[in-house]
Amino acid sequence: MAQKPRIGVYICHCGTNIAATVDVKQVAEFAATLPGVVVARDYLYMCSDPGQGLIQRDIEEQELTRVVVASCSPRMHEPTFRGAGRQGGLNPYLVEMANIREQCSWVHSDRGQATEKAKWLVASVVAKSALLKPLEEREVDVTPGAVVVGGGIAGMTAALDVADAGFPVYLVEQSGRLGGRMADLNRTFPTLESVAKLMGPLIERVQTHSNITVLLNSQVTGVEGFVGNFEVTVSGEIPNLQVGAIIIATGYDIFDPHRKPELGYGQYPNVITSLEMEQRLAAKDLTGSGKAIKSVAFIQCVGSRDAQVGNEYCSRVCCMYTAKQSLQVKELLPDADVTVFYIDVRTFGKGAEEFYDEARATGVRYRRGNISEVIRHNGRVALIGEDTLLGRPFDFEADLVVLAVGMESRADAGDLSNLLKLARSSDGFFMELHPKLRPVDTAVDGVFLAGCCQGPKDIIDTVAQAKAAASSALIPLLRGVVPVISETALVDEEWCAGCGMCVDVCPFGSASLDPLWGVSRINAVLCKGCGACATACPSKAIRLQHFTTEQIMAQVDALVG
């Protein structure tokens, strides 16, 4: 570009987020003195409509050829400001951001020094912006269809929504049947509906849906590609699935109470898990032997909220299913003594607190104090603990003890996480992209999460999340195209010696050597713009667009010069 660049610089206050620590006026005044800058302004919120309007008007009126926005992280608002540039008639890649919030105002307290640092950051980006080149915005076609991994309530719900929207769905289930863990339950809270009645028609719909292919006894063994065009390999009949999106709904493991030996599970036959209790409630035989029962005790938080077993989180369902089971016991045996030992009772869902009220009104006794140990006592078992409200230790004899076992991330979660490069949070569950704003997205575009694979949740929340995951997966499927980044690597064939270093370092498999010409070729669709090849290339034949050596050096020079 022979023409001298005309640069506009926009300093954002971000309310007081930036302005409280950085003297934005001073930064704007400083920016106006930088080479090529024809206009420099500050504004309360650059990302607001009037803020973006300022930029658009300046592009037209001041004939700007570059825009620099000094505000938050580009992860936050780069798409916003590139969009503003596009609206104003500028190639979006001629808009660049300086991060003076996360990397400056939020982490410093000295106003004078923070202001100086903000100036340097702006100067550096202005220097780079002068050398920016317009890039073409690109899109690729999407393969219509989705893979849903996991045939429980989450997977089936998500599969039905995607299939109902008219796209083929492959439902990959590891076991030999649909229904997942929910199929092992008897009744649901807080409505006491029969699980069989809820689940039967759902499984029927999945199995007969013309758009759904159910793959039982199948496991995902490999995933290639990217959003819009995934190639999923599966063990089983149809080994190769071409789809545009993937929904993970692999569920959870149940905490194994053998890991709390003090609770006597496996040692005393009348200490059982809540899952075993579901079966006994279904059979209406609580002892499993027809024997009479006078006292049933429930122990909460087994394997949850417990650093001793490495599970620091609350499993979110145990308080409610215990209330449900205690009510069911009262229904079967109105004269039985039913006691729940708890730390805190958490009944946060719709109708949940009312359900807990009902359990107490029916005569279920709640005692605060979690059980430390279960021992044999007078031919029964005794729960050893302290009533923390009375401040009094007790031995509590019972005929049946139900351990409210929590949820854990699946033991095989690591395998899937490796295949898909899915991040996991410290609790072992798959990590959503943002806990509030992107709850079903993952760091891998086109891969979405549904149900308990992301964290413990009840059926109500699981279904809601499954429907959210389906909606999100439908965005690329319905649009038919997905944007791909333009900041890809380019090979100058004149300089390429065909050494293959770029092929070795590329983590995305986008670099290869042309078998005929012996030079490197970068597949721009697969390239993620990480720059590893450009750094590795010994003859400097590879250039990463938008992050060229000249541009980076100009930034560095502005900082050290």
Binding site: E373, I375, E386
Partner: protein, 374 residues
């Protein structure tokens, strides 16, 4: 006492008042000791009147509370710190004062003469570690002085010799390890012992140190920081000697035996399998388990300085309950691997009139029987 600094130092804020500590505390069932409520006091009140809590001396430091806490709070550490406050202000039971004084003057909490510390040897072949040895046998105070425990110390020396180990003891130069001293709240004396003992241990040049008592084992292994010296309890060493064929147990002991896990070996150091492996290596033995075993073993009430302090409830001893549990298994022998457990449980067997039914023996006494006549 102001609560803020200690609450912060011990990170008590993690407590959710679930009650697993007091619920599992064997002493809380018989005295007013309630560590959960004491933590609550620390969290919500600016002051705590330590001297009003005589029951602080009831704690046996069995560490069930620490094992059970779901939030990684260490309730027993608060007891030890609060005892420290009492020690500093001089408000301590007389017997505790005597134990501290005895340790300071004679190197053992029973205040026995230092020159008698090696009397247990009584003709057994034991070399002075000061001459240099591969294995340092740290005898410990109670095993060195208590006549009842001498059969254990001598059996150990005999087994080491039989296995051909190059071992030695510190003789009359050995001093208290300080495990109980620290838990009585005397941090200063404990640090002094650590310093002097560590220097002495290192001077011997041994690569391994083995103890009679799980209490000495616990502090030397976890609280000394002796880099380069492997610290073992005798059950670990003897189990390995048997497994490697260095110690042959040939004589039959045709007895039904149950084993009581000592808190400082089991709960606190997770040595559960080795003692059982030794018992099962003795020909003729049938090992039966009590209902509460391994990490659920009921404390004998001998730890945490309690060998030198009676506590507030003398009548209902945990050891009484424990020997009944042992007798219920039908075992003829209650095996132990700790000198304190040996003394407390044997006493309980007598007081409870169970001596016709069950006998308390240290694992080394059983090994000695199986090794045959000397």
């Amino acid at each position: 006492m102001k609560t803020k600094a200690m609450t912060e130092q011990l990170e008590l804020f993690g407590c959710i008042q679930c009650g697993k500590c007091t619920g599992g505390c064997p002493v809380a069932r018989k005295t007013v000791l309630n560590i959960r409520s004491m933590i609550y006091n620390m969290l919500v009140e600016p002051e705590l009147d330590v001297k009003a809590h005589e029951e602080l001396w009831d704690c046996t430091c069995c560490f069930t509370c620490v094992e059970r806490c779901p939030k990684d709070v260490r309730p027993a550490d608060l007891i030890i710190e609060l005892r420290g406050q009492l020690v500093e202000s001089g408000r301590i039971p007389e017997t505790i004062g005597a134990a501290l004084m005895g340790t300071f003057r004679q190197g053992n909490p029973s205040g026995m003469a230092r020159e008698d510390r090696a009397a247990w040897v009584n003709g057994t072949e034991v070399k002075a570690a000061q001459e240099g040895c591969e294995l340092l046998y740290y005898v410990g105070c109670t095993p060195a002085y208590d006549l009842r425990v001498h059969t254990v110390t001598r059996a150990l020396a005999r087994a080491f010799t039989a296995a051909g180990l190059d071992f030695g003891t510190l003789g009359t130069e050995e001093s208290c390890c300080g495990n109980e001293i620290k838990r009585m709240g005397e941090a200063g004396l404990f640090e002094m012992l650590v310093e002097e003992n560590s220097e002495l241990f290192r001077s011997v040049g041994a690569s391994r140190l083995v103890t009679t008592s799980p209490h000495c084992f616990n502090t030397i292994k976890n609280e000394y920081g002796l880099d380069g010296i492997e610290v073992l309890h005798y059950t670990q060493l003897v189990a390995a000697l048997i497994e490697q064929g260095q110690l042959e147990l040939s004589n039959e002991v045709n007895k039904k035996i149950t084993y009581h896990d000592p808190c400082f070996l089991g709960k606190q150091n997770h040595v559960f399998d080795e003692p059982r492996a030794i018992i099962q290596a003795i020909p003729g033995v049938e090992l039966v388990e009590m209902d509460r075993n391994r990490e659920r073993s009921l404390c004998c009430e001998g730890g945490g300085g309690r060998m030198w302090a009676e506590g507030t409830n003398l009548e209902e001893r945990l050891a009484f309950q424990r020997v009944h549990e042992a007798a219920e298994t039908g075992a003829e022998i209650l095996a132990v691997a700790c000198p304190f457990c040996l003394l407390t449980l044997e006493d309980a067997v007598k007081v409870q009139g169970l001596d016709e039914q069950i006998q308390v023996m240290d694992i080394m006494e059983l090994v000695n029987l199986s090794l045959g006549e000397e």
